[in-house]
Symmetry: C4
Subunit: 283 residues, 4 copies
Amino acid sequence: MFDDLSSRVEEHSTDSLRDRIWRVIFLSNTRSGKAFDIILLWLIGISVFVVMLESVPTLQEAHRKLFNRLEWMFTILFTVEYIVRIWVVRSKKSYLFSFFGVVDLLSLIPTYLTIFVAGPQYLLVVRVLRLLRVFRVLKMARHIGEANMLMNAFRASFAKITVFLFLVLAVTLILGTMMYLVEGVVANNPGFSSIPQSLYWGIVTISTVGYGDVTPITVAGKVISTIIILIGYGTIAVPTGIVTAELNMNMAKIHPDKRKCKECGHIGHDTKARYCKMCSTEL
Amino acid sequence: MFDDLSSRVEEHSTDSLRDRIWRVIFLSNTRSGKAFDIILLWLIGISVFVVMLESVPTLQEAHRKLFNRLEWMFTILFTVEYIVRIWVVRSKKSYLFSFFGVVDLLSLIPTYLTIFVAGPQYLLVVRVLRLLRVFRVLKMARHIGEANMLMNAFRASFAKITVFLFLVLAVTLILGTMMYLVEGVVANNPGFSSIPQSLYWGIVTISTVGYGDVTPITVAGKVISTIIILIGYGTIAVPTGIVTAELNMNMAKIHPDKRKCKECGHIGHDTKARYCKMCSTEL
Amino acid sequence: MFDDLSSRVEEHSTDSLRDRIWRVIFLSNTRSGKAFDIILLWLIGISVFVVMLESVPTLQEAHRKLFNRLEWMFTILFTVEYIVRIWVVRSKKSYLFSFFGVVDLLSLIPTYLTIFVAGPQYLLVVRVLRLLRVFRVLKMARHIGEANMLMNAFRASFAKITVFLFLVLAVTLILGTMMYLVEGVVANNPGFSSIPQSLYWGIVTISTVGYGDVTPITVAGKVISTIIILIGYGTIAVPTGIVTAELNMNMAKIHPDKRKCKECGHIGHDTKARYCKMCSTEL
Amino acid sequence: MFDDLSSRVEEHSTDSLRDRIWRVIFLSNTRSGKAFDIILLWLIGISVFVVMLESVPTLQEAHRKLFNRLEWMFTILFTVEYIVRIWVVRSKKSYLFSFFGVVDLLSLIPTYLTIFVAGPQYLLVVRVLRLLRVFRVLKMARHIGEANMLMNAFRASFAKITVFLFLVLAVTLILGTMMYLVEGVVANNPGFSSIPQSLYWGIVTISTVGYGDVTPITVAGKVISTIIILIGYGTIAVPTGIVTAELNMNMAKIHPDKRKCKECGHIGHDTKARYCKMCSTEL
């Protein structure tokens, strides 16, 4: 998602118009490339903001025509950009099915759908994902490093967190059913009128969100609530612990020893090592 | 709970029908074993979902008969499976009293109880615990590793978290009693009508759930609330810290290299290292 | 609080009645000492539970006399125990002003006060602190280790967390005042009728408790809420990070290398060390 | 913000009145300097407290004149202090534009503005930031160390947390729009009457604040809520993980021993060690 651009620079190194446009659109290390990216980001940001404002009833009534025109203006601009992107890129398939390729398309479709039905224009907020390109512009290299590290830590801890969430959901479902019996069936509390409803309450509670739209009214219900809260309080630590442990390991790896063995070329020695661990040459 | 299966493979290595069924039911590294597991998991998942839907009043009225038939169908299927499990397993006692043995039984009983009394069918959600078998199927080895690591970290931090929860509950009880005196006795706030009620509020607050069904109304009550919130805010860190520290230690221990340099005695080489990084001796 | 008992064993090693009672009351490694502790803990637990039940209006009306008698029974028992404790202990002053000495006294006074005024019996919940003695009984050594480690980590991170809480409170006060101006003065939201009130809301919000008894109603108020929530979301990490880092350091120290240098007697070598770092003798 | 004072001591080392006043006001290691700081901190604390009390309607009506006088008294005192500070400091510009220079000015202006318009006196709470000087007085060196470490960890993790918050906000905006369509447009839930409103709900939910002023009422809305809650529950770990990993690294770095063994090159000796623990060579 972030690191595949630089590797494709070589393919587009000729001086044809197509390659020059490619460099402006896809790279941001040249002056014109950076200018293009910044203008694009502003346009995306404004277009998302317009969609948000359009949904406010008072504003929409007052400026319906203006919103409509802006929306079409942005959509046409972005459509042109999308077509140019497809034209200039060599490996069209890999762009079209890349993360940003799909997002670029999805952020155009809703407006065209409004010709046939009302409503989908709000789906344009998907454009907000296009803003993730912002990391390419601002202090690019560094932020990509940060983002990649976060992603690595996420990927590594995903399996563990999934296992954990499954356990939590199983416990929540069982305690939620007890609440349904105690509060819903016996005490007729409307917030616990079914097991799915109790499960909703259980998740809201165990995650410490605690809306308060559904709360226990019986003594037994409050005791079970207390138990589920204490479980949540004791276990919210687990995802944190997982991510922290992963990040700890990833950050330790960030400033590795850059020394390269003169003999066998091995990189990745310990900071304290004096001899290559692969071929015993002094470093 | 997870690691006792492989050790029992040898006992069942003959080619009798009983042992072949055992391998299908209890293992998941063969094709038929995996297929059995996946079908079973789907059946369990659907049966839990049916129990959840059955509790929704509108659905239950409309499809009472259908739900009843499905419930009996699943129960009979699972009863047959339970009996076959007992038949094929050698050490019947260790299965019957294992975690999954007890859960398998508990997820059958409620339906049979409905012959005598109404209501217990909702207890069938205990079947959700049978789904924990899912980890045996999907990328088995890896997920078991994850789950085992989580369990080890849990076990190691259990004593510490218990000590901590006890301290938190003691503080909550004392501050809750003060709230009872200030809000319940003096200001007649119905949410603080007794000490157990105040304790419920205290736990909801200190865990940062904060339903809002019980809130202070006096100035003194709000000051005490603020104190209890700040205590909760400062101490929610503790279970997290405990689990994280345990996980950190567990993850570091996963693959330590035990080789010791014959020359300088250094321990802590990389798994791939061929020469001591301190004195260049071959390992 | 936990580790000063063993050091006083020697003083009480004669065989007089006084010293024998001392060993029963203050130690728990003998059979009678353990029995005494367990009975005492049960009595304390029940007496706290009685105080809690007494505060429930319906129960109190029905069993006023019973509660009164139980309360006096427990108080007289604990008074006798307190007097005996003072009698048998050698360093009376250090007991009287120790943590448990003060708690033991405080858990007697309220009942005697009820002779003159009504109400203070609820302060008897302070007895719950006496239950902290439980750690002396159950798997004593280990739990004390856990508790001491938690206390050390707490003590070490106290200064840092205080600095942090002060910063958070300063930010909350400033944003709370802005909410008072925006919501209270301009929009007449009764929940923000004064700055202290807004500060209460700010603390409830930034700690992610979020009762919902006070919520913004204006657009500007919701924007400021969003800012304060994002600050809280981004900074709740800090106490956790502090405690985790401390615990990490404390746990690393728990299993130190026990080897003692034959030459200079130094203890505290690294696990990997081969030579004493103080006198160069081989370990 | 904290460490630039000591470096300027030399400039002001003459014995003129101006330099003597500078030492009293800007340093706190002399007796008079400490006394000045403590008196100033008390005055600031009281003046902030007065501003808070003034905002309580009942108190303000009863003591309007008193509050007004106190406010002017404090403001005149602080104005004099501000002028003296400018007079005695050598590098006036670096003081005026330093953090405390700006805060000192901002905490005077509101009172003078009240001559022209009513209301701004509440902005005086900005004075609370002046209290940050407290760390210069109480156990100065140590607390500054703590504060600096927290700031370093913050600075290092700021970029990462920003990236993370941006991702969370993007997800919240997209799910919030779905809630707007499901709850606001279809079910007419007034809490989801526009996308900005839904975004407010999304942030309140994903941060686990959960006021409960806006809650879903449809089944689809509750399902989306559950998804956003589980995302929040799984990701609240991330800022914590980032800060913890940074703090871990900062704390480990506090006192590393830089000595390298002449014989075997081992680095990482204890500060107290006299001989290399790997090869017994004297360090």
